[in-house]
């Protein structure tokens, strides 16, 4: 075998083998482009998150107590109404006819009483005369007792007529009440938020959710509040009076301010959830530019503790590692040690959705790798770093 050829082969192979070494010696291992931030005193607002919707505290759903076609509708959706305003009238022809019938019955019974009174007066006079004649033994006992009996029967008839009058008067009251129920009156000051019936449709006296049973909904727009469901694990931290920030889904960039007003006593399994949760009502104290509409989905952040100034880093910088086999869980951060990543175990304290308190590293000015996530999740102890210092807003 020609030595020269072998030398050529070895030279080429040697060059190829040397290439990665040369590359490494000249350029080193690739430094990772990372964002860093210094540990500094930051305000942490411990909070919990809950989702729910906007609702009206003062809200009434009107329904009819009588069955009948809607004759007049005096409002439209969005109209402002006051307490006592007539908003809807059900056709009352049948009820008026019934009223007149009952009124006539009262009158007939009144006349009947008058007739009974005249009859009794007449029989009393006859009785007095026959009594005198009987005492003088001018008439027999049988004739006297017959007259007495007629008088007592007339008195009983009188009582009966009185009861019939009372009965017909009660019927008249009943018909009047039915008649009055054809007039639907607003029980509160508010706005028509939902109008579920039209003129000509039949209003149905029913509590079931069938068409015609609900006429309209009136709500007081000033009484809007947020109702959220707080997980039972978080409820112990929630108290009446705590500050909250509410974000309606329709206005994701316009948080509203609120205060916790009510915490339900009993936990319930809400629709679409598996765990127990408590209803928490939050008054909206400052809606900002948000146009509040009941039913809007929203998310509320309830600040469970006072703002605290602590040594903290952005929350994404803290890595949680868990070893279930050894029942061990630890938190780490990557400290920038002059361009080299050093994985450092830390103890953590309070946190919110932005920052995590570090209780074991409290020296300000220590630089911590905070991102980007794609680099951070694969960062290893000893990796070279190209750093970009990110200042706080």
């Amino acid at each position: 075998m020609n030595l020269k050829k072998l030398l050529v082969v070895f030279f080429i192979a040697g060059t190829v083998i040397a290439l990665p070494f040369i590359n490494r010696a000249v350029f080193g291992t690739n430094a990772k482009e990372v964002d860093i931030s210094v540990v500094s005193q930051r305000i942490i607002s411990p909070s919990i998150l809950a989702s729910g919707f906007l609702a009206h505290e003062e809200e009434v759903m009107l329904s009819s107590e009588v069955i009948g076609k809607v004759a007049d509708l005096f409002v439209e959706e969005g109209d402002q109404v006051d307490t006592g305003d007539l908003v809807l009238r059900v056709d009352d022809k049948n009820f008026i006819a019934g009223f007149e019938q009952s009124e006539a019955a009262v009158r007939i019974n009144t006349i009947d009483i008058e007739r009974q009174e005249v009859r009794i007066a007449n029989l009393e006079r006859q009785y007095e005369r026959s009594k005198s004649l009987y005492q003088q033994e001018l008439i027999g006992e049988e004739e006297y007792e017959t007259l007495l009996n007629q008088l007592e029967l007339a008195r009983i008839d009188y009582l009966s007529a009185q009861e019939r009058l009372a009965q017909s008067e009660a019927q008249l009251d009943q018909v009047l009440d039915q008649l009055s129920k054809t007039q639907i009156i607003s029980p509160i000051d508010g706005v028509i938020t939902s109008l579920d019936i039209k003129v000509g449709e039949t209003a149905i006296a029913s509590s079931t959710n069938i068409p015609g049973s609900s006429l309209m909904t009136i709500a007081n727009p000033a009484s809007i509040y947020t109702e959220v469901l707080v997980d039972e694990a978080d409820i112990a931290n929630v108290e009446v009076g705590q500050r909250a920030e509410i974000v309606a889904i329709a206005y994701p960039d316009q948080p509203m301010r609120g205060v916790v007003r009510f915490i339900a006593n009993t936990a319930k399994i809400a629709q679409g959830r598996t765990g127990l949760s408590f209803v928490v009502k939050i008054d909206i104290t400052d809606p900002g530019e948000v146009v509040l509409r009941p039913g809007m989905s929203c998310r509320a952040e309830i600040f469970t503790r006072q703002d605290q100034s602590v040594a903290a880093v952005p929350i994404e910088a803290v890595i949680f590692e868990e070893d279930r086999a050894e029942l061990r869980s630890e938190y780490f951060v990557f400290v920038n040690d002059d361009g080299i990543a050093r994985k450092t175990k830390v103890d953590v304290g309070l946190s919110d959705d932005e920052y995590q308190e570090l209780t074991s590293i409290v020296d300000n000015d220590i630089e911590i790798v905070i991102g980007p996530n794609q680099e951070l999740r694969h960062l290893l102890d000893g990796d070279r770093l190209n750093t970009n210092l990110v200042e706080d807003d």
Partner: protein
């Protein structure tokens, strides 16, 4: 003199396979003469493919799998939704499955490429009417691919030098044009430089030389016939990449 007589008159003593391999690198014309007489195939196929499988197995064994998935997706230039879907798909596969695809996929692709290349050259032989058959061309293309062994060696060294398993598939082969410093801002051209390495160019050049030597043709004809499929592929790629 007929082709058969010409072949008989130029027959030489058989050289060893190692000798042919060294000649492919250091003295290609001698290797081509040897291959013209004895179109062996198994040795280069075995050496290239087995070394490639071993290197890929080593790579997929040491690579940080989570990091590898993110790195592969970062190269793919996908939207965020596509990226999530692709990540879900990739993470649903185990590292063993990935290793299997990596170890078997590359060699299988090489083998198919060789068969196509040899098929094309034997088709051209049939059209021109020369004496070379598929077996001759297949032997030639697998032997001229032998420089790829150097890429495998380079990859093995790169894997050995990787400190933490976070070694990108794009940085594995030190002989790709991109890893030799040819970085451009045009994405499609950069992707080409990422795939193309010196040994592939070397192998093509060897095939051209062998064609010229075997058929005693001009450089232009040899280049034209051997490079035609590559030029066609490059043209199609350039059309789509640049439009």
């Amino acid at each position: 003199m007929t082709d058969a007589e010409a072949l008989q008159s130029t027959k030489t003593e058989p050289a060893g396979l190692i000798n042919t391999a060294i000649n492919i690198i250091a003295s290609p014309s001698e290797a081509f003469s040897e291959l013209e007489q004895r179109p062996t195939k198994l040795f280069p196929i075995a050496v290239i493919l087995i070394s490639m499988m071993l290197v890929m197995f080593w790579y997929y064994t040491i690579v940080d799998f989570d990091w590898f998935i993110d790195d592969s997706l970062a190269l793919a230039n996908l939207s965020e939704d596509q990226m999530e879907a692709a990540r879900d798909g990739m993470t649903s596969m185990s590292q063993t499955t990935f290793t299997m695809f990596g170890v078997l996929g590359g060699p299988a692709a090489f083998f198919v490429f060789w068969v196509i290349q040899a098929g094309y050259l034997s088709l051209m032989s049939a059209l021109i009417g020369d004496r070379f058959k598929f077996t001759n061309w297949f032997s030639l293309v697998v032997w001229t691919a032998l420089p790829y062994l150097l890429s495998n060696v380079g990859m093995a060294v790169t894997v050995a030098l990787s400190p933490n398993g976070q070694l990108s598939a794009a940085e594995l082969n030190p002989l790709t044009l991109r890893n030799l410093g040819m970085e451009v801002n045009i994405t499609s051209l950069d992707a080409l430089f990422l795939q193309l390495d010196l040994t592939i160019i070397w192998a093509i050049a060897l095939t051209v030389m062998a064609y010229k030597q075997w058929l005693e043709s001009s450089w232009i004809k040899a280049c034209g016939i051997v490079l035609a499929p590559y030029l066609l592929l490059t043209g199609v790629w350039a059309y789509f990449a640049l439009t």
